[in-house]
Symmetry: C2
Subunit: 363 residues, 2 copies
Amino acid sequence: MDDISFAVLGTGGIGRRALEVSQAKQGLTPVAACDRHGIAVDHEGLDVDELLAATEGNVASAADRREAADGRAATDGSREPRADGGGAVKQHGEQAGVVASAQARPTETPIEDTIAASDAVDAVLIALPSLEHDFIPEVAAEFADADYEGVLVDVLKRSRVIGLLDERADVFEESGITFVCGAGATPGFLTGAAALAAQSFVEVEAVDIHWGVGLKSGYEDNRGTVREDIAHLPGFDIESARDLSDDEIEAIVDEHDGVIEFEDMEHADDVLLERAGICDAEDVTVGGVLDVRNDEKPTTTTVDVTGRTFDGERATNTFELGDETSMAANVNGPALGYLKAGVRRNRAGEYGVFGPADLMPGF
Amino acid sequence: MDDISFAVLGTGGIGRRALEVSQAKQGLTPVAACDRHGIAVDHEGLDVDELLAATEGNVASAADRREAADGRAATDGSREPRADGGGAVKQHGEQAGVVASAQARPTETPIEDTIAASDAVDAVLIALPSLEHDFIPEVAAEFADADYEGVLVDVLKRSRVIGLLDERADVFEESGITFVCGAGATPGFLTGAAALAAQSFVEVEAVDIHWGVGLKSGYEDNRGTVREDIAHLPGFDIESARDLSDDEIEAIVDEHDGVIEFEDMEHADDVLLERAGICDAEDVTVGGVLDVRNDEKPTTTTVDVTGRTFDGERATNTFELGDETSMAANVNGPALGYLKAGVRRNRAGEYGVFGPADLMPGF
């Protein structure tokens, strides 16, 4: 495959790690990175080391998040991406976020600026905090409005967002956008594993995804992820989690002695497997254990797919991640892998909305 | 995806099971099945139950195989596929092989006849015994010569065959053929699992595939597979295995008390992973244990992928098949899954040679 140039929207934990991982991948050139403060573009390839060093500590604070949410409430359609970056940035330059990089310049229109550079951008990884269901779909719609032709990849989690994307499939197709949704770890990596493991069976009865994440050293960089996870706890939802102060988050973490268990999470693995025809969404369960005080995983990440073979046997195929693989490795490797698959589809003229399972062998 | 019509070349163990498994799959309609004796075509869909019953016991005998080999040695370019069917067929009709089915008619040109029906055939599964390295590539070349446009899928095993296919990639591209090679269990299912498991890593150090097959009740139907496996034993090669009489095969089985272990097999998982950029072929090892006297697997089928993450950890991701899944389930489910993926590529205008790992997220 020819080389692929890509941009990252958001320079928080995921965006920055995606840039870092891409350095170790063949044929991937990061040419743009932006957040709501600015944009860095270099068609020859960004200096990732400089950008990472300059944006270290890009973490959305509660105040920053509320400010962004207020801005969204009054949106006039020109909404800009909020990055995992803002008021809380440990600034290395005079301005917050990506502008701390010597390669960046301030802008109030980062999406438009990214699109303006899009002749040389094959794919855009949307690595923005997703604390409103329609946020990613609306960012994508902005790309379509601007006639972007290429691939959009996101690492969203929530099942209901897939429906919002599917509603916009026509718009993406008209623009020439191949949208690969839910392409992180779960959904994403583990969804793909479930789709593959299903290949032994003619009927899939149950998909059980159980993840373990140890996030001690990555905690600072992944507060947005922790906040999104808390929204899955009983008594919380996306809105209430978004409004938690950092102190309130810490109090919740303390209550659980740093180890939070999740059951029956609304992870889009379910609808992504259903729309690929593999099983009913209700047959998919996702749960996990997050330990923010250790780097060791509190439990091994596994995918169990139970089904019936054509010759009448019932069995369970299993996919298991080594405990030493970090969340960052398991999100960003697959995100870039799916990005590559998306670019291939896009170059062949296949547009619309694709889930991870759509980029695997058919069921 | 729209419905997919497909043909099967060969009505031995794999061809017949593929027809059976397709009955349980959405959107797959078998419209043709042929062997070197005849062809059955029904664009509305074959009556698979009738065809399976009529061709029960389609197993190539040693005499049949030698006859076919002799025919090949004197080939004039009009070579016809030898199916897993011939002299040893437990004939239900007056003629051998697929012609035993009421839906079939004799023909001396089954490939041409399949191509003649190809306006209504999206894909062809090549389920022929592969006891010469160039046999599958030459069958495929015949399809290209006849300007077949569509998908060819095979379940070949040998690494060196991939190179022969790659040499013909231009021919396939000109014809409009999307050739999905090595799309059975290993290579195929387990290659795909390795490609997916690699996504945690920026460098893959080792892929270890270890399979277990219990083949008591499937032995009669899979003599061709057993013969191909014996060719991997020390002291044997494809040529010497091809020339073994059935009695000699039984003697080898007896020597091993029915349980044969294989190490360092020449399975194309290695080159298929290398050509997808995942690791060096030499880092891939394939071995397994075949028990022809029990249906229980003598060992669990596993894929271990060991690599290094971007953040410097070393880990092993594992894919494990439930012991109750038969070889037939793990060959034919993935073969049809890759067939579906191939049709999608073909319809988008992507032609040439694809391995399983090419139909997964990029690395």
